[in-house]
């Protein structure tokens, strides 16, 4: 974080206690909104996303084609490097499951790389503090009929991102949180 702060025009919001990624996204969105941002880009910090792809993610928004752009590693021209087989299978199952529950014709449902207009970002509900927010965002998009587009991105699984990333067993927790939310 100290390194980031040497770059110009960067703000760092820090949760004094860990609340999970969902809560962090909401905080970032709120902060950016207060500062008068027009677009929000969410980005995983474990090195799996490529910063040089941000302009490509923003283009459909600038062209006013849609309000949300979702990164996809599985669509045509999307790339995944070094993905472990277990993770691949799990992600594919997650895609299938999300397609069934939201009806959205997506190719990649658990990708942290997104771009959206501020208005879309503030309409999308993220009350799931931890990792179930990825599915929650998509359910919101489906429920609110927010126009979206998928854009191919490259996901690079490095040793660092694997260490920082999700454990497969967490999928069960995510499923549970998603079900509990409906009660």
């Amino acid at each position: 974080v100290k390194e980031i702060l040497t770059c110009p025009d960067v703000f760092v919001c820090r949760h004094p206690i860990n609340l999970g990624q969902g809560a962090a996204l909401r905080t970032g969105i709120e902060f950016a909104t207060q500062r008068g941002a027009r677009f929000i880009v969410t980005f995983d910090a474990d090195g799996q996303h490529q910063a040089q792809e941000i302009p490509r993610m923003l283009k459909p928004l600038l062209d006013q084609e849609c309000e949300v752009v979702l990164g996809s590693r599985f669509m045509e021209h999307g790339r995944v490097e070094n993905i472990p087989l277990k993770k691949y299978v799990l992600l594919k199952i997650a895609v299938l499951f999300t397609r069934l529950t939201t009806g959205l014709p997506l190719t990649d449902t658990h990708n942290g790389f997104r771009a959206m207009t501020v208005s879309a970002a503030n309409r999308i509900e993220i009350t799931q503090n931890r990792m179930a927010h990825a599915s929650q965002i998509l359910r919101s998009i489906a429920a609110l009929r927010i126009p979206f587009k998928e854009v191919p991105v490259t996901i690079r699984y490095t040793e660092y991102s694997m260490r920082k990333g999700q454990r497969l067993s967490n999928a069960i927790n995510i499923l549970w949180e998603s079900v509990a939310e409906k009660i």
């Binding site: 960067v10 820090r14 949760h15 905080t27 950016a32 677009f39 880009v41």
Partner: protein, 118 residues
């Protein structure tokens, strides 16, 4: 009187006193809790009473009746606790978010009026 009876009565009394010492709440809560504790005392001092009530309700033994009531009460209180915890979690999230935004650190900026991006 069997030896278990004073033990249970003391445990109940202690819980009762602690409840009133630390969880003073609305009038309805108090009336309810007094009734529940009274029922507990009665059940401890006159175990036959629970059997009569059980028979009246069509349950075989007083012990079974107690078991059913305790099961229902446990499930009810767990649901209550769950909802309370998630409400607390929401409040906590709001608070932490407020702090994070209020204490946001800005890097050395070349242009202080420029927009930020998350």
């Amino acid at each position: 009187m069997k030896p278990i009876q004073p033990l249970l009565a003391c445990a109940l009394l202690a819980t009762f006193l602690l409840y009133f010492r630390y969880f003073r709440s609305s009038l309805i809560d108090r009336v309810f809790s007094i009734l529940i504790f009274l029922a507990g005392f009665l059940a401890v001092l006159f175990p036959q009473l629970t059997s009569s009530v059980a028979n009246f309700l069509g349950v075989g033994r007083g012990t079974d009746l107690c078991f059913y009531i305790i099961s229902a009460a446990t499930i009810f209180s767990m649901v209550l606790l769950y909802s309370k915890i998630s409400r607390l979690e929401k409040v906590n999230t709001k608070l932490v978010r407020w702090i994070a935004i209020a204490t946001a650190e800005q890097s050395a900026s070349s242009d202080p009026t420029s927009r930020s991006k998350e």
